[in-house]
Amino acid sequence: MEEIKNKIYQRLTEAFPEITEHKLDFPYNRLDVKIPKNKVPAILFYLKDEMGFKHLVHITCVDWIEEEKFELIFIVWSPKEKVKVFVRTELDRNNPVMDNIDMIWRQANTYERELREMFGIQFEGLVAPKEFILEDWDDIPPMRRDFDTEAYAKKRFFERPGREDAKDVRQTIAERTGESLPDFAKKYSR
Amino acid sequence: MDILIKILGAVATIIIAFVVGMLYGGLNRKVTARVQNRVGPPFWQNYLDAFKLVSKKTSIHHGVMQHLGPAFLMVSSIGTLLFIPILKGNNWFPNLSFHGDLIFLLYLMVFGSLGLALGAGQTGNPNSAIGVTRGLSQMVGFEIPWVMALVAIMIQYHTTSIADIMHVQEVHGWLMFQKPFAFIAAILAMFGMFRYSPFDIVGAPAELASGPVSEFGGKYLGLMMSSGSIFAFVKLTLYTDLFLGGASNFIELLVKTFLLYMIPVSYGLVSPRYRTEQAVRYFWGWPSFFGLLAILYSVIF
């Protein structure tokens, strides 16, 4: 396995000297490379067409809020070599723009829509309906780490007294105080 | 006075048909439950369901055909009921059984399907229309063996009247044994007529949201349910009259119709579901073969 991974890495570095970081010592069949974002479509094309990585497993994103970066990860899989390659790239967190790659794999379109909605990453030239899962979302994208989901939930949704935090519910029920509800609604909430 | 008695008789027939049909529906549920190793609902469950549906406080409609659909259905059921002899010798609630014959009944029976189809179409729900096209296709399927069986009987005894056919059976014995091929064809067609599994794709709840009736609720659904129960009784009585020699008293009628009713029910319990084209081809396969055999038998003998 190690030899195969080394061989793949050799071929990749020969074709793409721009690869900045790599990590080969993951257990099993995983191989990580990092590359500037303008080279991502090229390396994905190369992986798919020249090296037999036919399957796009996933596109995902990590929010490195301390470093002001988004890290995009494209996972591709070669059914012949049984090796996964993680292609990482970094985006500026304040202006997250990425090239659209759904001409390489059609299914990338779905992942890109999800990333656009959940992280606010703009894919240039992505043709897709505006909304993916959320309807009428009016806040910052919810998967970003600076999005405070608890505060949002508190602001947005009603809350049963005694369930303000992650404490044991039975304890809070024991300490429950009165609720401020209209009379008719009291009847239906107990 | 005479006409008053006739009207009272007709009303009594309708009530009996409703009660018995509903009872059979409940027993069907009970039997199904017992086969599935359940307790099941009480046998009077269907009465409660119907009453509850009718007593719903509000209902909606999409237009005039949604009223007319259930009405057509009910007209078809009750009309057919009034034109078949319930008991042998017509000495008990003869109604209008002297004034119609088998071919007339064939056509009156499909009146309801067309009415329901139009009512379902008015709702604008695509599931309804899909269900209707499946139902009508299936109907074209099972009418063929059914008509073949009827034609075989008619040409054997040179009559198209049900009362005459019942009379013939008093002399010659039950047609079930006299004309076994016709009986087989008719019973196989009956599976499609009752729309139990495996021919229940018309209103398949999981994929079509109950098909044609998906926009009908409240009193409309209650009326359809009642009409379906009456219609079930009508079909069973018709089969009894045609093949089982009719019934000379009410108990006999109940026994015979119940036994007949259990045939599609028990067949449905152990069957998966046919797609529409499979169902249609099924009916044009062995059932039609038996139908042709029956005609041949009648022509030769």
Binding site: - | K57, T58, S59, I60, H61, H62, G63, V64, M65, H67, P70, A71, V75, I78, G79, F83, L96, H99, G100, D101, I103, F104, Y107, L108, V110, F111, S113, L114, A117, L118, G121, Q122, T123, G124, N125, P126, T133, R134, L136, S137, M139, V140, E143, I144, V147, V151, I155, T159, T160, S161, A209, S214, E215, K219, R275, T276, E277, V280, I295, V299
Partner: protein
């Protein structure tokens, strides 16, 4: 001068006047057109007595016209439908160009049909037949797309029919030296065997074309759907019945006397049944309402042909009843589709949707006629179908009954397709402003559907005329044996009392309506967008009506049959015909000059053989 002269003169004069009145003003043309029809119809029905005889002298040949009871039955269809379709066409045709031409041909085809049913000799029969054919041809190519191809198809088949008919007439004349229809009938048995076979066969080809019998039906769907709907209601309702008229004459007076006539009957009954079955299947898969109705017409004519071919008294009553009734309900359906076309501009069933609330009266007429077509009691279509079945069963045509029954049950499918796609389903914003058709279009439809209901419980009124007609043809009086005022019987003495059916249905219906309308206010109207769809609300521009591949399951079920029948037979037949047309197109090339030369050539040929034909 008697009533026949006057009626025909009015129609002919009216036709010509209408054409020239078009040059003056539209309103004058309309008034002349409709008053011609009305005056002719009133005069005909009030003044006409069956023993009137009118002679027209054309040189040496004398054309004799008289009205028998048999012709009277058909002239009821012709003039009744003519008046209603004429009324209907006033608003329907408004704004089209070349209207004088259309109305002239309209009147001329009525003139032709009326002439046919009164003709006493084959020459006048043929002349009027050609007037009818030509006027209908000119209307078929009057507008619409692809008129060249459709027109040539129609013309080719009509020519085939006409010339085979002419050949038969010539042969008959050469043998019996008389053009009189009665003479041929009375001397038919004395002809030699080859003539006894050739003459009816040639006649049946001629009439089969007009009645759209199986191998000769190819022109019908296109021609029916291409003519303006106001004329198609007559084209399908009345004009096709001329073929039936001729067939009845041939079957009753010639084939009855042939030694092996049951073979003839079986063959033609099966041709009719095949027509019915195949045309029904094709009708199910049409997406254009006009085409659907056109195929349905072919199918219904198939029933009638079957009944005529069987030829027992009950079958004859059944097919004549169906013939009249087909005129009534199919005309209504064509008119209703025409009304939809008038308001929405299209009859494509995948486009039009949800018109029931916009055009309720049109829907009512279409519904009643559709029920009549499907043959469901208590509407009159049932009476005809019942008698047809009974006649087939009692006559021993068991498999034929199954075929007819299949076609009749499958008719539910296209009836539902028509009603659902045009009138039911979700409403479309595009048709938001559609209004009910003008009164002059709705009233004829409602009158005709009224007849459908009326004949449903009192068919005796029509049976009386049919009885008289059949007595003329040599059948025994059938009143009391096959029918009473509101009851019908079969050969085994079973009966259906149709009035009781109606009363039962109405009683139950009223009772149910009371139950349904009890606490009326608790039932709310919601739009067709408000449907249970897993909580989704269709957007304004979304329409969820089920339109495409409407009977796909059925299509899959009969796909082996379709493959066998349509792919190999029909396509092969059609392509063979196409190749034939390619050849024929050199003759019928659309150039009037060439046509003139063609006609002249034909006349020259006729004159060359004149000695043989006329003087022997």
């Amino acid at each position: 001068m008697n009533t026949i002269h006057i009626t025909l003169g009015i129609l002919l004069g009216g036709a010509i006047l209408t054409y020239f009145a078009n040059k003056i003003a539209g309103i004058v043309r309309d008034i002349i057109f409709i008053s011609t029809l009305l005056v002719a119809a009133v005069l005909f029905f009030v003044k006409m007595t069956p023993d009137t005889i009118a002679n027209f002298n054309l040189g040496d040949i004398t054309l004799t016209l008289s009205l028998s009871h048999f012709g009277l039955l058909f002239s009821i269809i012709i003039l009744g439908l003519g008046v209603l379709a004429g009324t209907y066409s006033l608003p329907y045709m408004k704004g089209k160009d070349n209207l004088g031409f259309f109305y002239m041909n309209f009147l001329l085809s009525i003139f032709g049909m009326l002439g046919i049913v009164m003709a006493n000799d084959w020459v006048s029969f043929f002349i009027f037949w050609e007037i009818m054919t030509w006027s209908s041809y000119l209307i078929v190519v009057y507008n619409g797309k692809d008129t060249n191809k459709i027109g040539i198809k129609y013309m080719l088949f009509s020519a085939l029919g006409a010339y085979s008919m002419l050949t038969a007439i010539v042969i008959a004349y050469s043998q019996i030296h008389s053009f009189s229809i009665e003479a041929l009938m009375s001397q038919f048995t004395q002809l030699s065997v080859s003539y006894q076979i050739a003459i009816p066969l040639l006649f049946l080809i001629g009439f089969g074309v007009k009645a759209a019998m199986m191998p000769l039906h190819v022109w019908a769907p296109d021609a029916y759907s291409n003519a303006p709907m106001s004329y198609t209601s007559m084209f399908s309702g009345a004009l096709s019945k001329m073929g039936i008229y001729g067939m009845i004459i041939v079957f009753v007076n010639m084939i009855n006397y042939l030694p092996h006539n049951t073979v003839w009957r079986e063959v033609f009954a099966w041709l009719g049944a095949t027509t019915a079955v195949l045309a029904t299947i094709w009708a199910i898969f049409q997406d254009d309402a006009k085409k659907l109705l056109a195929y349905s017409s072919v199918a219904q004519l198939g029933y009638i042909i079957t009944g005529v071919a069987i030829g027992t008294p009950l079958a004859m009553i059944a097919s004549l009843f169906l013939a009249v009734l087909h005129g009534i309900f199919k005309a209504t359906l064509f008119m209703a589709v025409g009304a939809v076309e008038y308001r929405t501009g299209t009859t494509d069933m995948t486009v039009v949707t949800g018109l029931i609330r916009k055009m309720p009266w049109t829907f009512l007429a279409a519904l009643i006629s559709a029920i009549a077509l499907a043959g469901i009691p208590p509407i009159a279509g049932f009476v005809g179908k019942w008698m047809l079945y009974e006649s087939l069963i009692t006559n021993g045509n068991y498999i034929l009954v199954i075929a007819i029954f299949f076609s009749s049950t499958a008719a539910f499918l296209y009836v539902y397709k028509l009603l659902y796609n045009l009138f039911l389903g979700q409403e479309e914003p595009e048709f938001e402003n559609v209004k009910e058709a003008p009164a002059l279009m709705v009233i004829p439809m409602l009158i005709l559907s009224g007849f459908s209901i009326f004949l449903g419980f009192l068919p005796g009124y029509l049976f009386k005329y049919i009885d008289n007609a059949l007595v003329v043809m040599g059948f025994p009086v059938s009143e009391g044996k096959w029918w009473q005022m509101s009851a019908i019987f079969n050969g085994w003495g079973n009966k259906v009392s149709v009035d009781l059916v109606l009363y039962t249905v109405i009683t139950v219906f009223v009772a149910i309506a009371i139950i349904l309308f009890y606490r009326w206010k608790n039932s709310h109207y919601v739009t067709t967008k408000d449907i249970s769809l897993s909580g989704e609300v269709p957007k304004e521009d979304e329409n969820y009506s089920f339109k495409l591949d409407f009977f796909k399951p059925f299509e899959r079920a009969i796909s082996p049959l379709l493959k066998y029948k349509i792919e190999t037979y029909y396509k092969g037949f059609a392509s063979g015909m196409e190749a034939f047309f390619d050849f024929v197109r050199r003759i019928y090339n659309g150039n009037a000059q060439i046509y003139a030369i063609y006609v002249i050539t034909f006349l020259v040929i006729l004159l060359l053989f004149a000695n043989y034909i006329f003087t022997v």
